[in-house]
């Protein structure tokens, strides 16, 4: 599908046709079924505002257990300069990483092929802090349509649907660590940088999280990528907790051997939140000691929230 015809096959890029924030998702499955552990990752590289941005990966998936790895990637990317495919406008394309030391093909199994999804979710600017549209029925005689109905029923609805709550927060290199814990215990990931938060819902820090600015179903994605570790037989887990309730885990994935790139986990869910529900991103690791978050810009730890439905 490419309904706005922004894709250029010769470079596998999607060129910006409408300015906005784009929710990008995808995976790069590799044709690897060996038992030796390697690192696999998908990522996105973009030109934003005419400036080339280095590739930022999804989870660093450590795999080596007899089936093709399917590393996850999801990112919220700003695109402002429009243009034809192959032109000088902003664009997005996928990247892949594997550390086997040799060439690997991507998986060619029909149900496990690389894919990229780029979807506009929010304008660059708009009217924030609007409520979810009520979409009330139009007045019947003897009542009549006034500016009130036109503004609430049309203007404000369009404003909200083109500028819904979106948020991306991530960890900028510092000294944060996640302690050794036995699953299902977890620690709030101390994200310290906000890229976008148009409804001002995110609070950074070790107790931070996202307060839902309006009620609704939110697309929630978070990934933790750790620094490399010599530990073996280790679990890496990622989850979300709403209002301090039980952590809803996404991944709990296994690390069998020492690694040199880092490793990570993701959580990806659609959760219905009430106004002001507080969502926190939790991580767990059982390496035996505290483990630092990966400090490479390309191996990002991040949280994304996008309002999708009332």
């Amino acid at each position: 599908m490419d309904n706005w015809q922004g894709h250029l096959t010769t470079s596998s890029s999607y060129y910006c046709q409408v300015p906005g924030w784009y929710l990008c998702q995808g995976t790069t499955p590799f044709a690897y079924t060996g038992t030796t552990q390697y690192c696999f990752a998908a990522g996105f590289k973009a030109t934003t505002g005419g400036v080339s941005v280095p590739a930022v990966r999804g989870q660093l998936l450590l795999m080596g257990s007899g089936k093709n790895p399917v590393p996850q990637a999801c990112d919220l990317i700003e695109q402002t300069v429009t243009g034809p495919p192959g032109g000088t406008g902003d664009g997005i394309y996928m990247t892949g990483l594997q550390t086997s030391g040799g060439t690997l093909n991507s998986s060619a199994t029909g149900s496990k092929v690389p894919y990229m999804s780029v979807r506009w979710v929010c304008a660059i600017s708009g009217t924030a802090t609007l409520g979810v549209p009520a979409n009330a029925a139009w007045p019947v005689p003897p009542s009549y349509v006034t500016a009130l109905e036109l503004n609430t029923g049309i203007r404000d609805t369009i404003r909200f649907l083109t500028y819904p709550p979106v948020c991306k927060a991530y960890y900028t290199a510092g000294s944060a660590t996640i302690p050794n814990q036995v699953f299902p215990a977890g620690t709030v990931v101390p994200l310290n940088t906000i890229l976008v938060d148009n409804y001002n819902g995110f609070v950074t820090g070790g107790s931070g999280g996202f307060s839902a600015p309006v009620a609704g179903v939110y697309c929630l994605y978070a990934q933790v990528n750790y620094a490399s570790s010599s530990a073996t037989s280790t679990a890496y887990s990622a989850g979300l907790s709403v209002n301090g309730a039980a952590i809803q885990w996404g991944d709990s994935t296994f690390k069998f051997a020492a690694d040199s790139t880092g490793g990570g986990a993701v959580v990806r869910k659609r959760i219905r939140l009430a106004y002001n529900d507080f969502v926190q991103f939790y991580a767990q690791q059982s390496s035996g000691g505290a483990l630092a978050l990966n400090t490479s810009v390309g191996n990002q730890t991040r949280f994304i929230a996008v309002w999708e439905s009332a």
Binding site: M1, T27, P29, Q37, L62, M63, G64, S65, G66, K67, N68, P69, V70, Q72, C74, T109, G110, S111, K112, Y115, S117, R119, V132, P133, N135, A136, A137, W138, P139, P141, G153, I154, L161, V182, F183, P184, V217, C219, S233, A235, A238, A246, I247, Q248, W249, G250, D251, S252, T253, F254, K255, V266, V267, R268, K269, R270, R272, E308, S309, A310
Partner: protein, 175 residues
């Protein structure tokens, strides 16, 4: 709840709109775009997983406003009139596989055939293990039915602990 993919209205010169026209031209399309077709479900009561792929018959339906879920078939059918692109999000979970060579996958089936192995991770030896994935899928209203499956190398059950339930979510993205 009911609704269909929005259609842009035609404003005919000389036609005096009635309130019902505004409801059809404005309220109904905007309502569909505000409150999208959504399905969210979990498996809380546990189910046995074979060594291989197993269909999950979700036992806890969190929301299904368009009534697409069939507990007998274990499928969710795209509502009639709501054809379009949907995104499926799934977390596949199993109990402790007890082996160091376990793989766990979240898998989407479409009309009884495998559509996408959305995620695949190395299963943890020692406690419950899971993997999260997603994929966009084109669905034809009234016809196409999807289901969630879990691949587990080990023949175990799904967890019954809150926070480790397998989960499945579907949302309409675009016509």
């Amino acid at each position: 709840m009911s609704g269909t993919d929005p259609v842009a209205p035609d404003f005919i010169a000389g036609y005096g709109p009635l309130p019902a026209d505004f409801n059809a031209w404005v309220q109904a399309p905007f309502t569909f775009l505000t409150s999208k077709v959504v399905f969210r479900a979990q498996m809380q009561g546990g189910t046995s997983l074979s060594a291989g792929s197993t269909q999950v018959y979700w036992d806890t339906i969190l929301e299904d406003p368009y009534g697409g879920w069939s507990s007998g078939a274990g499928t969710w059918t795209c509502p009639a009139g709501c054809s379009g692109w949907y995104e499926v999000t799934m977390s596949a979970w199993s109990a402790n596989p007890g082996i160091t060579t376990d793989v766990i996958e979240s898998i989407l089936y479409l009309n009884g055939s495998i559509y996408s192995e959305m995620s695949a991770s190395w299963g943890v030896d020692g406690h419950a293990t899971g993997t999260s994935g997603s994929v966009p899928v084109s669905l034809y209203g009234g016809q196409d039915a999807i289901s969630g499956w879990i691949y587990s190398t080990a023949s175990v059950s799904t967890p019954t602990t809150n926070g480790q339930y397998p989960t499945f979510e579907v949302i309409w993205l675009a016509a």
